[in-house]
C-alpha cells in the first residue's frame, strides 16, 4: 500500500477506456495505492511524453493503454531500465520488457465474431448475404478486428462485401457514413461495426433509415444504445471485452510486482459475444 501508479490512457471519450480507468481506480482504492491517470487524447506522442514525465516522477508502476503499439516500446524500455514495471492493457505490445499484457487479442476475437456471424447467416439468413462494414481506419486495433473477421467470413464464402466505410471513431461521422452505406445499398442485409463509435453510429443509421426490420448488425463494444438494439432484435451479436476487469487486473498486477511478486506475462480476460440470450447480465453496467 501507499504506492503511486500511473495509468496512461488512450482517450476518455469512449466508455471502453473509461471502464478500464474505473476498474483500475477501484483496485487502487482497494489496495490503498494512489493512481494517477493521464489522458493522451489519441496521441502517441503524448503517451511517450507522459512516460518521460512519470519516469522523472519515479512512480512505482505504469499501465499503458497504447495508441501506437510499436510507438510506446522505446518508452516502455526506458521505464523498465529505470526499474519501473509496465503493464499493458488492451493494445497488444510487441515482445519487450513489459511485465504483463492484459487484453483481448483483437485479431483472434475478430475471427471469433466472424465465426459467430457465419454461423448465424447459415442458420437464419439462408447462407448467402450482402455485408457492409463501418470501421475506424485510423485505429490499428480496429483494423485487426476487420481483418480477423474478413478472413473467416471470406473463407466461409457466406457474404458478398459491399465495402468498408470510415467512421473515424467519431459517432456522428460513423452515423453519416453508415447512412450513406445503407442508402447506397438498399438491399444490404448485414452490417459489421468494429468499435463503439462505429456501432453506435450504425445502430442510429439503421433506425433513421427505417431498416431495422431488414438488416442484422454485428459489432464490438456494448453501450446503452447497443443493448436497446439487441432488445429490438436487429443487433445480433456484440463482442464484449471486460474493460473494467482489465483495468482492475492491471493494478493488481502492479501491486503484486511492487510487492516483489511476479505475474503471468499474459493475463487472459474473457470475451463474451453478447446476444439476446445473455444481454441481461450486462444491463446494470450501462444504465
Amino acid at each position: 500500500a501507499g504506492k503511486t501508479f500511473a495509468l496512461i490512457q488512450y482517450n476518455q471519450q469512449v466508455s471502453f477506456f473509461t471502464d478500464i480507468t474505473r476498474g483500475a481506480q477501484e483496485a487502487a482504492k482497494a489496495s490503498g495505492d494512489e493512481l494517477l491517470v493521464f489522458d493522451a487524447n489519441n496521441s502517441a506522442q503524448a503517451q511517450d511524453s507522459a512516460f518521460d514525465t512519470y519516469i522523472q516522477q519515479k512512480v512505482d508502476g505504469i499501465i499503458i493503454v497504447s495508441v501506437d503499439q510499436n510507438g510506446v516500446m522505446p518508452a516502455v524500455r526506458t521505464a523498465s531500465e529505470a526499474g519501473i514495471p509496465v503493464v499493458a492493457v488492451d493494445g497488444v505490445l510487441p515482445e519487450g520488457p513489459q511485465k504483463a499484457q492484459i487484453s483481448v487479442d483483437s485479431y483472434t476475437a475478430g475471427k471469433l465474431i466472424g465465426e459467430f456471424y457465419v454461423d448465424y447467416v447459415k442458420k437464419n439468413m439462408g447462407g448467402k448475404v450482402t455485408l457492409g462494414s463501418v470501421g475506424a481506419l485510423n485505429s490499428d486495433l480496429q483494423n485487426l478486428r476487420q481483418k480477423g473477421f474478413d478472413e473467416v467470413v471470406n473463407a466461409a464464402g457466406v457474404a458478398t462485401s459491399v465495402g468498408v466505410v470510415d467512421g473515424r471513431n467519431i459517432q456522428d461521422q460513423a452515423l453519416a457514413a453508415a447512412e450513406n452505406l445503407l442508402t447506397g445499398n438498399p438491399d444490404l442485409q448485414t452490417l459489421y461495426a468494429t468499435g463503439e463509435p462505429a456501432l453506435v453510429g450504425a445502430v442510429a443509421a439503421a433506425e433513421s433509415q427505417g431498416r431495422t426490420d431488414k438488416i442484422k448488425l454485428f459489432g464490438w463494444d456494448l453501450s446503452a444504445q447497443a443493448i436497446a438494439a439487441i432488445d429490438q432484435g436487429f443487433l445480433v451479436g456484440v463482442v464484449q471485452q471486460d474493460p473494467f476487469l482489465e483495468g482492475k487486473k492491471a493494478v493488481e498486477a502492479l501491486v503484486t510486482l511492487a510487492g516483489g511478486g511476479s505475474v503471468e506475462k499474459e493475463i487472459k480476460v474473457p470475451v463474451t459475444i453478447v446476444t439476446k440470450e445473455n444481454v441481461d447480465a450486462f444491463r446494470a453496467q450501462f444504465k
Binding site: 466508455s15 465495402g163 447512412e179 450513406n180 453506435v200 450501462f286
Partner: protein, 331 residues
C-alpha cells in the same frame, strides 16, 4: 482632339457576374459534382438519398450560416465542434434525468448563447484574437463535456425529442427543414437588416465602423452568440439523430464548417459574406462524402479524394472568377 464624351455605362450583367462570381462558380461546381455522381450511381438522385443528403448536411449547414456571420466580421469560431459535444452531452443527461424535452431544448440553446457570449466578450471587449479565444474554447469546452459524461455515451430515452432528428414534415426530414429555415433567416438578416449591414461594416473596417458610431464591439460579440446558439441547435439535431449524447460528437466539425463557408465565397478577411454560397458550400461537402460512398470508392481513399475535390473546387472557382472578373487585373 478636344472631344468631350462621357463614358458609356457598361453592361450591368457583367457587374452582376463579377460580384456574384464566387457564388455562381460554387453553384456550377455543385451541379457538376451531382451530375458526376448521378452518372456513376443512379441511387444518388433518388428522392430517398437526396433527403438523406439534406438531413446529413443540416448540422453543418446550421452552424455554417452562423459562421458566415462570424467570418464576415473578420473573426473565426473554432469551438463549434466542442460546443456541439457539450450541448449534445448535456441534453442527453437532462433528458435521461427526466426533464421535458422542450425545456431541455430551450435550456440548451441558452447554454450555447452563454458560451458564445463568453467567447465573444473576450474577442470583442478584451481584443484577444478570435482564433485564440475559440482555440482555448475548443479544448476547454470539450473537456467539460468529458467531465459531465465521464466518457460514457449517454442514451436518450425514446420520446418526442428524437423527432428533432428523425421526424419528417410533409415528407421532408425535420433537420433539413431546420437547416433551410436557419439559412433563410441568415440570408435575410445578413442582406436586408441594419444589423447585417453593421456586421459587414465591422468586418470591412472595424475602426471606421466605430467612428461612425456603430457599436462595433457589441456587433462583434453578438456573432459569437449566434454561432454558439447555432452550434447548440446543431447539437440537438445530432443528439436526436444518434439517440445519444457523447463528448466524442462532432470532433473536427469546425473545419468542415469553415470549409463550407469559404467554399461558398465568403472572404476570410471579413467584410464580405454570402449565405447562398454557404448553403452550397455545405451541400457540396455533404454531396462529396455521400457520393464517394455511393461510388464505392475504397474508404482508404476518401480523405485523399475529399481534399483533392475541395482544392479543385476552389481552384476552378478562382479561375472562373478571374475570367469573368477583370481579366488580368493584376499582372
Amino acid at each position: 482632339m478636344t472631344l468631350y464624351t462621357e463614358r458609356q455605362s457598361g453592361s450591368r450583367l457583367r457587374d452582376f457576374f463579377e460580384s456574384h462570381a464566387h457564388v455562381l462558380s460554387i453553384a456550377v461546381f455543385l451541379i457538376a459534382c451531382c451530375a458526376l455522381f448521378t452518372s456513376i450511381n443512379d441511387v444518388f438522385l433518388s428522392p430517398g438519398n437526396l433527403l438523406n443528403l439534406l438531413r446529413q448536411a443540416a448540422p453543418t449547414l446550421i452552424v455554417a450560416v452562423a459562421m458566415t456571420f462570424v467570418i464576415t466580421t473578420g473573426g473565426i469560431d473554432l469551438s463549434v465542434g466542442s460546443i456541439i459535444a457539450l450541448v449534445n452531452a448535456s441534453a442527453a443527461l437532462l433528458l435521461r434525468a427526466g426533464w421535458d424535452w422542450p425545456v431541455v431544448s430551450v435550456l440548451m440553446l441558452m447554454l450555447g448563447a452563454v458560451i458564445g457570449l463568453f467567447q465573444g466578450y473576450f474577442v470583442a471587449y478584451q481584443r484577444i484574437p478570435a482564433f485564440i479565444v475559440t482555440l482555448a474554447g475548443l479544448s476547454a469546452i470539450r473537456g467539460i463535456a468529458l467531465v459531465l459524461t465521464g466518457g460514457f455515451s449517454i442514451l436518450i430515452p425514446p420520446g418526442l425529442f428524437l423527432s428533432i432528428g428523425r421526424g419528417t414534415l410533409f415528407g421532408i426530414p425535420s433537420p433539413a427543414l431546420m437547416g433551410l429555415a436557419v439559412a433563410l433567416i441568415g440570408f435575410i438578416v445578413l442582406n436586408f437588416t441594419v444589423y447585417g449591414r453593421h456586421v459587414c461594416a465591422v468586418g470591412a473596417n472595424a475602426e471606421a465602423a466605430r467612428r461612425v458610431g456603430i457599436p462595433a464591439r457589441r456587433v462583434v460579440a453578438s456573432v459569437y452568440v449566434w454561432s454558439g446558439v447555432a452550434a447548440a441547435l446543431a447539437a440537438l439535431v445530432v443528439a436526436a439523430r444518434l439517440g445519444s449524447g457523447s463528448s466524442n460528437a462532432a470532433v473536427g466539425t469546425e473545419l468542415d464548417v469553415i470549409a463550407a463557408v469559404v467554399l461558398g465565397g465568403t472572404s476570410l478577411m471579413g467584410g464580405r459574406g454570402t449565405i447562398v454560397g454557404t448553403v452550397m458550400g455545405a451541400l457540396t461537402i455533404s454531396v462529396i462524402s455521400n457520393g464517394l460512398i455511393l461510388s464505392k470508392i475504397d474508404a482508404f481513399y476518401t480523405q485523399i479524394v475529399t481534399g483533392a475535390i475541395i482544392l479543385i473546387a476552389i481552384w476552378v472557382n478562382t479561375r472562373i472568377f478571374d475570367q469573368v472578373g477583370s481579366v488580368r487585373r493584376k499582372s
